[in-house]
């Protein structure tokens, strides 16, 4: 054993791993155990300066809360430590490759965070006088301009709070337009590969949902679509690029067929990252498309929101956009807050996700028209690199090229005893977030890999080497590596059945 000049050993020596180790504290080195705040804090503890208030006569009508609320507090140091410890149990984009298909887990630039926190954006009230929020209206107008220009569409509704909310906005505009022309229709067509939100949204707006068949090449069967289109069809909802990671190459014929039937073409823009700056939905016959600003334009996913889902509209639908929206005036901008008789009405209180608008515009200004196109190209290049590098050891569901995500299925795991789920969990042991699994539903045991433009070739090569290694292990019959995975995450697999059978949805002190 070598020694440094203080006589201290500099290498670990033997027995570096003691798997049965039990500490006295419950911690394991940097894996720090952390109870719930309800087990740590007390209702007497607080981490804020409690204002001193002199006696006064209250005016709440004798309705003072006398019962205990029961919320424990922690001091500031303990609060910081609690949430720091919790954070370390999470995987985020900041930690490594996050190839979650259909979710576009790209880098979240910190400039965007800084801009959204400028007091002129973060500390303004949605109902303060319009004369005091000219910059906010300008920002909304400029974001609208970028979204319309990138899509070649004439109008946009910014206010929807997330992608699914944008879908709702789009389908409601379609229904408003149909009702305005006295044309009651009953059906919306969606492919089976659609995100679950599409049929859920259609049903929410009172439509029956019918499936559009797909062809063997993973794209819509145009002939079957034409047969399904009649005067009962209100709209066709298509994701393009679709959830198999493929561009609908007959898109214009599809759009023509939809319009010939008097229906509208709704495009789910979840995968817009693949084509931004490369093609404009307005050139392809789309009537409405939502964005997910938290996907394409890099606003943080935040562990499940907040999202933002603006929707662009064609001329045929733009009269029906919800309030509020910004208009240009002689001396600047105005915010229209009251619906006229064509507008569908109001989808949210106030004006939508301003904090996300700032971040998205910051992303767009940084990239510019050239950088946006480059980002789409790099995203598509990375995905095709995955497809080309894994196609011989995993089973690609469709022939390439793909767009921004590569779809594999579980045929390569046939007779290995390893499932898609097992394979995904083994990726965790490799230090990666799993790809999207079992979606889309049109192939068996789907594995949808979306690397995004944020990954370097070095990262891609490492990831590919891991995936090849895992595929080899599965085929070699090393089932244990998969069936118990993850072994090296802070938690082993969790029992979801128990959670659903006997739901414990809040902390209750032990009786």
């Amino acid at each position: 054993m070598s020694m440094n000049n203080q006589g201290r050993p500099t290498s670990a020596g033997a027995a570096t791993e003691n798997t049965d180790f039990e500490s006295f504290s419950g911690h394991k080195g940097l894996r720090l155990a952390e109870p719930l705040i309800f087990e740590l804090g007390s209702t007497e503890t607080t981490g804020v300066d409690v204002p001193e208030v002199d006696e006064f006569e209250m005016a709440i009508g004798g309705l003072e809360r006398t019962s205990e609320i029961g919320c424990p507090g922690l001091s500031e140091p303990d609060t910081v430590r609690h949430y720091t410890r919790l954070s370390r149990r999470n995987y985020g984009i900041d930690m490594g490759v996050f190839p979650l298909g259909s979710c576009t887990m790209k880098h979240n630039p910190r400039l965007n965070e800084k801009m959204a926190r400028l007091p002129g954006f973060s500390d303004i009230h949605p109902l303060q006088p319009k004369s005091t929020v000219r910059g906010a209206m300008q920002l909304m107008d400029e974001l609208s301009h970028w979204l319309c220009t990138l899509t070649g569409m004439p109008a946009v509704a910014l206010s929807p709070k997330a992608g699914a909310h944008g879908e709702l906005c789009g389908v409601m505009a379609i229904r408003s337009a149909l009702e305005a022309r006295g044309d009651a229709r009953e059906v919306i067509l969606c492919p089976e590969s659609a995100h679950g939100t599409n049929p859920a949204t259609a049903a929410f707006c009172g439509y029956k949902v019918k499936a559009i068949p797909a062809k063997d090449n993973g794209r819509v069967d145009l002939e079957a679509l034409k047969e399904a289109l009649d005067d009962t069809v209100a709209a066709v909802m298509l994701t393009n690029p679709n959830t198999c990671g493929l561009f609908e190459n007959e898109i214009r014929d599809i759009a023509d067929a939809i319009h010939a039937a008097g229906a509208f073409f709704y495009c789910d823009g979840a995968n817009f990252n693949a084509i931004m700056g490369k093609a404009r939905p307005g050139d392809l016959g789309v009537d409405a498309m939502h964005f997910n600003l938290h996907k394409t334009f890099s606003t943080p996913h935040g562990g499940g929101g907040p999202g933002s889902g603006p929707v662009v509209f064609s001329d045929a639908l733009k009269a029906h956009v919800p309030v509020p929206f910004v208009v240009k005036t002689d001396d600047g901008f105005d915010l229209i807050e009251e619906a006229d008789d064509k507008s569908m009405g109001r989808l949210v209180a106030y004006h939508g996700q301003m904090g996300m608008y700032v971040r998205a515009l910051s992303y767009m200004l940084s990239h510019g028209s050239d950088g946006i196109r480059q980002a789409a190209e790099d995203a598509v290049l990375n995905a095709n690199y995955v497809l080309a590098s894994l196609g011989d050891v995993m089973t690609a569901s469709f022939d390439g090229p793909c767009m921004h995500e590569a779809l594999f299925d579980d045929r390569f795991l046939k007779d290995t005893g390893v499932t898609t789920l097992d394979f995904a969990k083994a990726m965790i042991d490799e230090g990666y977030h799993p790809m999207t699994m079992y979606f889309p539903l049109v192939v068996h045991g789907a594995m949808l890999i979306e690397p995004t433009e944020s990954e370097s070739k070095f990262n891609m090569d490492q990831f590919i080497a891991s995936m090849r290694g895992l595929a080899g292990e599965a085929k070699a019959g090393n089932v244990d590596r998969f069936s118990g995975a993850p072994y090296h995450a802070p938690w082993k697999r969790l029992d979801e059945t128990q959670a659903a059978r006997n739901p414990v949805l809040r902390y209750s002190p032990e009786e």
């Binding site: 005016a59 507090g73 887990m105 979240n108 006088p129 049929p199 209180a349 510019g368 739901p503 949805l505």
Partner: protein, 449 residues
């Protein structure tokens, strides 16, 4: 481009591996005549240039913290401890996805479990979900949930409900056969507003939605409303847009609510010009399976260690598709984290203290306004917000005061145009309002009235 790691050499090597010569061969499915359109937008900019550009835009707005500020009506300026914003920016929280892989998302899942518990405690209900987009969308989800529970169609929206919330309910149900009955706002007589809601309930009613404190600020005992609703097998939905009030007033659960919808912005989250905010949604145990939105539940892992997972997802769109309880696919995760961290810092003691300070600020404001000619306070009860009747049009008064650097509140006509409330002003005073701010407002009002 600073965000794009691939070099020209990398790109070429990757194209070679794929077996194409040019990247546009990967885009061959896009019709050629629309590929690579001219995009009339500026080229990329440096971080410094973007920062300068957006900072100038931001500087055209008047930040709440820079002036005497009395604007509320569903969004409130509170002091948020520095710790909150620092912690939510940890990349492990900020850049995580929805916790569908629970083995590597226990950080998110545990805070959601903590959040659900805190919301249930605050509202006095059994359970809460992982949050909704905001209070207004949560409100329309609650109306639809009441319909699922009661199998009745008529929802009554009380006059105390924020106009935007009522509009969101009306908009989102316009293509269903739900019947939405909106009652008139009545800032001068909140008891009459309550009585009108009670009187409107009949055998066809699925739910009655009442905001407390109301949009004009009054705090009321809702027990008579709960009683009448329950007599007719209807649900009482209580909306709380100022969640800070729950530190001082009796909880909706104690008053008999079946569903509580809240706007949680006041705790942990800034004004942000209206979003992102977070919807709180709580109900009783027996309705859990009819609840919209994500839920986190406790379980164990393969070693028997306690952990948390998203659960009861068979209600949700990604499993149920067109039969889902809601099309919602997200919550307001990071805003919920901010809420939870702020609540943890506050604790019951801090919450009660800050809540009391809010009420005191509003009482001080009311007392100061008593001496101003042309101002008549309409409320007998309030938490941190009340309404006044002015001797002239409130919107013009607010504009005149804005010119003097005072943001004086929300003219009722901004929420209720054409409803005869042009002389009504809604004023909020939170713990951030100082005695000097109140003096400035009083002096300003004396000048413009």
């Amino acid at each position: 481009m600073r965000y794009l790691p691939l070099t020209a050499t990398d790109r070429q090597a990757m194209l070679d591996k794929i077996g194409v010569r040019h990247v546009d061969e990967l885009f061959k499915d896009i019709p050629n005549d629309v590929l690579n359109p001219e995009i009339d937008l500026p080229r990329h900019r440096s971080e410094m240039e973007v920062e300068r550009y957006l900072s100038r835009m931001a500087a055209k707005n008047t930040a709440a913290g820079s002036v005497p500020f009395f604007v509320g009506a569903g969004a409130y300026k509170h002091h948020v401890p520095a710790t909150v914003d620092h912690m939510i920016q940890r990349g492990e929280f900020l850049t995580a996805y929805t916790p569908y892989q629970p083995e590597i998302a226990q950080g998110t899942l545990q805070y959601i479990f903590e959040f659900q518990t805190q919301v249930a405690q605050l509202t006095g209900m059994d359970v809460a979900n992982a949050s909704m987009y905001d209070g207004s969308t949560g409100c329309s989800e609650a109306v639809m949930m009441a319909r699922r529970v009661t199998r009745k169609k008529k929802a009554i929206l009380a006059g105390s409900l924020h106009a935007h919330y009522a509009s969101v309910v009306a908009t989102t149900t316009q293509f269903t056969d739900d019947v939405i009955e909106r009652l008139a706002p009545n800032p001068a007589d909140p008891e009459a507003e309550l009585q009108a809601a009670i009187d409107a309930i009949d055998a066809d009613t699925s739910c009655v939605v009442f905001q407390n404190p109301g949009v004009f600020g009054s705090v009321l005992d809702l027990r008579p409303l709960a009683e009448k609703a329950h007599e007719h097998k209807a649900l009482l939905i209580v909306v709380v847009t100022e969640v800070m009030s729950l530190g001082l007033t009796q909880s909706p659960g104690e008053m008999g609510a079946d569903i509580v919808v809240g706007e949680g912005q006041s705790i942990g989250n800034g004004l942000n010009f209206g979003g992102p905010y977070l919807g709180l949604f709580a109900t009783n145990q027996k309705f859990v399976r009819q609840m919209p939105g994500r839920l986190c539940g406790e379980t164990v892992d393969a070693d028997g260690k306690r952990g948390f997972v998203l659960t009861l997802s068979t209600r949700e769109q990604h499993i149920r598709r067109e039969k889902a309880t809601s099309n919602i696919c997200t919550n307001s995760g990071l805003c919920a984290l901010a809420f939870t961290i702020h609540m943890t810092l506050l604790g019951e003691k801090g919450l009660r203290g800050v809540s009391l300070a809010n009420h005191k600020a509003a009482v001080d404001l009311r007392d100061a306004l008593k001496g101003v000619d042309g101002v008549e306070v309409l409320n007998r009860t309030f938490f941190n917000e009340f309404s006044v009747k002015l001797s002239r049009d409130a919107a013009s008064v607010v504009d005149a005061l804005a010119d003097k650097g005072i943001l004086a509140g929300v003219p009722a006509s901004r929420l209720y145009p054409g409803e005869g409330l042009d002389d009504v002003l809604i004023l909020a005073a939170t713990e951030t309002v100082s005695a000097d701010d109140i003096s400035a407002l009083v002096a300003g009002l004396k000048e413009v009235l």
